[in-house]
C-alpha cells in the first residue's frame, strides 16, 4: 500500500467496553468456581465465565460475609480458558475492583450476590479501564448504574434459588418502564427522572430509542433451557447462569443445553429436543420460602 496512515491507539474507550458486551449477546455466561468447571463451561459453549469462590446457592448455605474471590483462583481460571473471564466485587468496594482490574479480568460484576461493602454508594465505574456489569430490578436502578459507568446491565432475579419468578418480574418491570416513558410527552420526563431516581439525560435517551444504551442481560434463577429461552423472549440479550449448572445432576449436558436454548429460544420443537434427558435440575428454593432478609436482590441503591 502506498498511503499507510494510522492514528495512535485509544485503549479502554466507552465503545470498546460496550463493544465487549455486544460480543456476548446471544450467549450464556456461567458461574464457575474452579479451573475444571471453567473448562467444562467453555467446552459446553459458554460465551464467558464468572469466576467466584462459591456459587450463589452455596453462599446462601454458608452464610457469613461473601467477598471477592482469591486472585489465585481467578488467575487459574484465566489460564485454562480463552473466553472472557469475569469476576465479582462487593457493591461499593472499589479496592476489590482495583484488584480485579490489576488481574486483568475482562469484566467486573459489582454484585448483590456478595455482601455489600457500602450501604449508600456504588463504585465509580467511569474511572476504571475494565468494563462493569451491574444488576437492576427496574429502569431507574439500571440508569443509575449506567450513569456510574456500567457498560452492561443484567436484571437481578434472585440468585441461588433456581426460581425464575424474580428474574421475570425484574425483566418485565424494566421493559414496562421503557415502554411507558417511550409514550410520554417530553415535558413529563424530568419528573419521571426524579421519581425513578435516574439521570435525566439517560431518561431522554431511553424515551427516544425505547431501549437501554447498553446491552441488557438476565440473571438470577435460571435452572433449565426453558428458563433461559423464556428470558430471551422477555427481552434479555444473553443469560447468566449461576448455580443452575453446577448444582444440577449433569453440569456438562445442562450447560450445553442452555447454550442451545439461547440460540433457538424461538423454536419450540428444537427446545423440546434440547430439554430431553438432562438429569436432575438444581433442587432450588421457592421464592415464597425465602425470608425477606435472605433476599439478595434488595441490595443496591
Amino acid at each position: 500500500m502506498t498511503d499507510k496512515v494510522w492514528s495512535s491507539k485509544q485503549e479502554s474507550t466507552w465503545k470498546t467496553k460496550v463493544g465487549l458486551a455486544e460480543m456476548l449477546k446471544g450467549g450464556v455466561i456461567m458461574d464457575v468456581v474452579t479451573p475444571e468447571h471453567a473448562k467444562i463451561a467453555e467446552d459446553a459453549g459458554a460465551a464467558a465465565v464468572m469466576a467466584l469462590e462459591r456459587v450463589p446457592a452455596d453462599i446462601r448455605v454458608a452464610g457469613g460475609v461473601a467477598r471477592m474471590s482469591d486472585p489465585d483462583m481467578i488467575t487459574g481460571i484465566q489460564k485454562v480458558v480463552s473466553i472472557p473471564v469475569m469476576a465479582k466485587c462487593r457493591i461499593g468496594h472499589f479496592v476489590e475492583a482495583q484488584i480485579l482490574e490489576a488481574l486483568e479480568v475482562d469484566f467486573i460484576d459489582e454484585s448483590e450476590v456478595l455482601t455489600p461493602a457500602d450501604d449508600r454508594f456504588h463504585v465509580n465505574k467511569r474511572v476504571f479501564k475494565v468494563p462493569f456489569v451491574c444488576g437492576c430490578r427496574d429502569l431507574g436502578e439500571a440508569l443509575r448504574r449506567i450513569g456510574e459507568g456500567a457498560a452492561m446491565i443484567r436484571t437481578k432475579g434472585e440468585a441461588g434459588t433456581g426460581d425464575i419468578i424474580e428474574a421475570v418480574r425484574h425483566m418485565r418491570t424494566l421493559q414496562d418502564d421503557m415502554r411507558r416513558i417511550r409514550n410520554l410527552p417530553e415535558e413529563e420526563l424530568m419528573t419521571v427522572a426524579k421519581e425513578m431516581g435516574a439521570p435525566y439525560e439517560l431518561i431522554l435517551e431511553v424515551a427516544q430509542t425505547g431501549k437501554l444504551p447498553v446491552p441488557n442481560f438476565s440473571a438470577g434463577g435460571v435452572a433449565t433451557p426453558a428458563d433461559a429461552a423464556l428470558m430471551m423472549h422477555l427481552g434479555a440479550e444473553s443469560v447468566f447462569v449461576g448455580s443452575g449448572i453446577f448444582k444440577s445432576g449433569d453440569p456438562a449436558k445442562r450447560a450445553q443445553a442452555i447454550v442451545q436454548a439461547v440460540t433457538y429460544y424461538n423454536d419450540p420443537k428444537k427446545l423440546a429436543e434440547i430439554s430431553r434427558n438432562l438429569g436432575e435440575a438444581m433442587t432450588g428454593i421457592g421464592i415464597t420460602q425465602l425470608k425477606e432478609s435472605d433476599k439478595l436482590a434488595g441490595r443496591g441503591w
Binding site: 485509544q10 485503549e11 470498546t16 460480543m23 449477546k25 446471544g26 450467549g27 467453555e42
Partner: protein, 181 residues
C-alpha cells in the same frame, strides 16, 4: 448464532438491505450474502458443529455467496488458526492468531485508511481482537494498522479484525453489499 448480529443487521438495513438472523440450514438457503459477526469463536464453532451447519455454509460460500467475517467471524473464515482445533468453515487463505491484540484491558480504537472507500480514515474498534499473521497470494490487503493487515479480501470473502458494526460509519458494510450485487 451468537455475538454482535443485531448491530450488523441495523447497519445493513440502514443501507437498504434486508437482513435475517441465520440459525438453520433453511435460513442459509434464503440469503444472498452472510455476515459472521464478532462474538466468541469457540461458541460459534460449537453451535455450527452441533447444529450441522458447517458443511451447508461451506457449500454456499464455495458456490460464490459473499461472506464477511468480523473478529470472531474472521477466525471462522481463516484456513489456519493457531491454538484452535475446533471445526470451522475455513475458507480464506489467511493465518490468524486469536486474542493476539490482548485481553479486554488492551482493547482499543484507532483510525486508518481503507483502500477503495475514500481518503477519510475509518475508526476501527478492536476488542480482544484476532491478528492476521499471514496471507496467501490471492488475498488483497485493504487496510493495515501498524503494518499488520486488518481488512482483507479474497474472491467473495471479506474479513476484518475490527468491528465496523459498532461505529456510525457504514462504508465497510457498503463495500460488502457491493460484493453481493
Amino acid at each position: 448464532m451468537q455475538g454482535a448480529y443485531h448491530k450488523h443487521s441495523l447497519m445493513a438495513e440502514s443501507l437498504g438491505a434486508q437482513s435475517i438472523e441465520v440459525r438453520t440450514s433453511e435460513d442459509l438457503a434464503k440469503i444472498n450474502g452472510l455476515i459472521i459477526p464478532g462474538g466468541e469463536s469457540t461458541v460459534m464453532s460449537k453451535l455450527l458443529t452441533r447444529n450441522r451447519l458447517i458443511e451447508p455454509l461451506r457449500r454456499r460460500a464455495l458456490e460464490g455467496m459473499p461472506v464477511f467475517g468480523t473478529c470472531a467471524g474472521m477466525i471462522l473464515l481463516a484456513k489456519e488458526v493457531d491454538n484452535f482445533n475446533l471445526p470451522i468453515p475455513g475458507l480464506m487463505d489467511i493465518s490468524v492468531h486469536r486474542n493476539a491484540y490482548g485481553r479486554q484491558l488492551e482493547s482499543f480504537e484507532a483510525a486508518f485508511t481503507v483502500k477503495g472507500i475514500g481518503e477519510e480514515p475509518v475508526t476501527g474498534i478492536f476488542i480482544r481482537a484476532p491478528k492476521i499473521t499471514g496471507y496467501g497470494a490471492g488475498v488483497e490487503v485493504l487496510a493495515e494498522y501498524e503494518d499488520v493487515p486488518v481488512l482483507v479480501r479474497e474472491n467473495n470473502f471479506l474479513a476484518s479484525s475490527f468491528h465496523p458494526e459498532l461505529t456510525g460509519d457504514p462504508r465497510i458494510h457498503a463495500l460488502f453489499l457491493s460484493m453481493i450485487s
